[in-house]
Symmetry: C2
Subunit: 166 residues, 2 copies
Amino acid sequence: MDILGVIKTRRSIREFSDRPIAGELIEKIIDAARFAPTARNIQPWEFVAVTEPGTLNKIADITEHGKFIAQAKCCIVVFSSDTKYYLEDGCAATQNILLAATSLGIGSCWVAGDKKAYSGQIAGLLNAPGSFKLVSLIALGYPVSEDSFKVAEKRPFKELIHREKF
Amino acid sequence: MDILGVIKTRRSIREFSDRPIAGELIEKIIDAARFAPTARNIQPWEFVAVTEPGTLNKIADITEHGKFIAQAKCCIVVFSSDTKYYLEDGCAATQNILLAATSLGIGSCWVAGDKKAYSGQIAGLLNAPGSFKLVSLIALGYPVSEDSFKVAEKRPFKELIHREKF
């Protein structure tokens, strides 16, 4: 599938099958993350790949809208050092993760990290230094149904494009 | 090229040839943006496609590190309504724009909008309502050389991956 197809069929998937994700695919997905653009080329990000069920359960417990992480086969936790544009950089990397996963047939869902009261708890659980910011948590797993990768309904194109002026 | 190839060959391109970008390609690129994930499915974004040289020059003048926008054939300006996660949403959309452009052989460079003193000036120039936040400005144009799409040097994979714990 070409990239525009991948972009359009990526959608939040929160129900996962029991099928494990091969370690090399997790590495491929994180490898894609590091090619995101980054302000001043600082590349302030760090990625924790969590696959242990016990830790996945704890992450699910801590997060507000990430209870389904308990069923995920992997959770990639994106941290960043505290730079001016850490959130821009970390979100671009997160989007690469979602797209790389989709292209491999792996379902994904972005759970918020920044601005969340639980960010310190997640950092503590994973032994991240206190100076790092939690950007996002990405649940990964094979979807229960292949039909999961269908184009989501979105605001119509004509409504959000403006030509020359807003 | 598959999506991992596009992700790896995307890099900031700031020198553009005189070749114009077909309107339908600009539409294709913005169409990709709207399929980004968005917190609570709010889709708070709006995209202004600027192609008039006079306006491109003014944007270049206003920005700090975007002087090359004067030579771009298009600048996509990403605004968002002021939601809790507007920056996450807008950055995911921005990354889709960069990847879609790369896949079409169009060079791109992300110029910061959020947290910039000039964001109000850009909004004013483009008649964006004051309630909207400026997320990013993306310069687009064909690169002067085809060699421009080469894999950028990045921090090594082994340095930024952490297994189970940070």
